[in-house]
Amino acid sequence: MENKTEREKMTHLMASFISYVSKKLPDDVEKKLAELRKIETGDLASTIYDTMAKNQKLAWDLDRPCCQDTGVLQFWVKCGTKFPLIDELESLLKDAVVESTFSMPLRHNSVETFDEYNTGRNVGKGTPTVFWDIVPNSDKVEIYTYMAGGGCTLPGKAGVLMPGMGYEGVTKFVLDVMTSYGLNACPPLLVGVGVATSVETAALLSKKALMRPIGSHNSNERAAAMEKLLEDGINSIGLGPQGMGGKMSVMGVNIENTARHPSTIGVAVNVGCWSHRRGHIIFDKNLNYEITTHSGVTL
């Protein structure tokens, strides 16, 4: 019985957190956008940035999702094996999405494949997506909540390069995405790059990279240097806000990596749009929570 009450409590808290993330950008994104706004001086770029700022204020004042495309919800959970609600977690996250969908409201973004109908509840077979990391001997859970719209999901690309193509090949792979689909994915973008062995290992890392705060660096010195090289390189292309031209293109480039098979370099790119709705919340075993991405929030 007690577990049932706790389950309901966590469901409501997560529903409130999802709704919050849908209307307010995380602190690091707000700060970066303000920085980039100052650098852009052209009429068009300035108008776009000012429109963006006006929109964020309206979303807050009117308590609405700041972008209409509230994504197919994704959760990255780092769950302690001793967290009391571990067995309930996946199903309660689904319930939380439904609750937020009707209370906020969020857009109905789950279309069943092959049968091709919209479920009308924003959840479906395998959605929301829950990625699991199991943490031994912990009684806490960390949850990254992420809403990526269709626009910034479209550029996603993964491939496997031959070692002869090297990190030069990785560079080309990333840059080519920027000037093709990246243009339409609502720049300034946050670019996530995964470097590993195969398509799925690289792809998961590229998404994980987008969970990292803007301005954080890969712990490997060369990978961190490559983050900076790519950031400066993509900025020099001058995509500007909305890809319509300006001095800058990205909010940052985050690379995540693992060791690789000697014969392959798996590489993947995922981009987050300027409206990068990412939230990070940590629950202890009594469901006391801490939010690291947004300051001053009480759910």
Binding site: D43, L44, T47, I48, T51, M52, K54, N55, L58, A59, L62, R64, P65, C66, C67, Q68, D69, T70, P105, L106, R107, H108, N109, V111, Y117, N118, G120, G150, G151, L154, P163, G166, Y167, E168, T171, L175, D176, M178, T179, L183, N184, A185, C186, R222, A225, M226, L229, L230, G233, S236, I237, G238, L239, P241, Q242, G243, M244, G245, C273, W274
Partner: protein
């Protein structure tokens, strides 16, 4: 900045002749949300569009709607979606419907460019992600058609006032701002590639 340029539906060919790529305009009158499946239905399935948009405007968008009483709706959040997804159909779409303003996000391709030139129409970008601002510029949802497609794909007929800013990306001369920009972007990308390659020869 010069005076605010406002188009009013129904739009006539001559209303568009002095508007060029890069200009910022606003729309007063009606705009209908219309995206992937609606385009497919009209062009591939030959189903007539249940809303007359001759001289009108469409918005590539799938909004968040709140149902009110008496079959009325509130526009909660309505930003543009990636226009390029509709590229495959847009030439035929402009030809069939006589639409004058296509609003979305990002660029469109050669077909739309040809459609805009031949049939006198514009493609414009509403700054994407600015969906609450756009929603507050919708005065009323007057009609909803093809509701079987679900919330994002329904044709929501919106009465709008000074809807914008709309940045012209394709004009009636057939100029295409994104395609022109892409040439510059690709040149700078090649330079960036050469520079980065000097520093990433980690395999040796």
């Amino acid at each position: 900045m010069s005076e605010k340029k406002i188009l009013t539906t129904p739009i006539k060919d001559e209303d568009l002749k002095d508007i060029h790529v890069g200009d910022i305009i606003y729309l007063t009158g009606h705009i209908v949300t219309c995206r992937d499946v609606a385009h497919r239905r009209l062009i591939e399935e030959k189903m007539p569009l249940p809303v007359d948009i001759k001289g009108g405007a469409i918005l590539h968008a799938g909004p968040i709607i709140k149902p009110l009483e008496n079959d009325k709706f509130q526009m909660v959040s309505v930003g543009p979606t990636t226009s390029m997804r509709m590229e495959k159909f847009e030439y035929e779409f402009i030809k069939e419907t006589g639409v004058k303003l296509v609003v979305g996000k990002g660029g469109m391709g050669e077909g739309t460019q040809r459609g805009c030139k031949e049939f006198k129409a514009l493609h414009c970008v509403f700054p994407a992600g600015c969906a609450v601002l756009a929603a507050t510029e919708v005065e009323e949802i007057e009609d909803a058609q093809w509701r079987d497609l679900g919330m994002p794909e329904t044709l929501w007929v919106c009465r709008v006032k000074e809807f914008g800013p709309l940045i012209v990306s394709i004009d009636t001369d057939g100029r295409n701002m994104f395609e022109e920009k892409k040439v510059e972007y690709n040149r700078r990308k090649d330079e960036a590639y050469e520079e980065i390659c000097k520093h990433v020869k980690f395999i040796k």
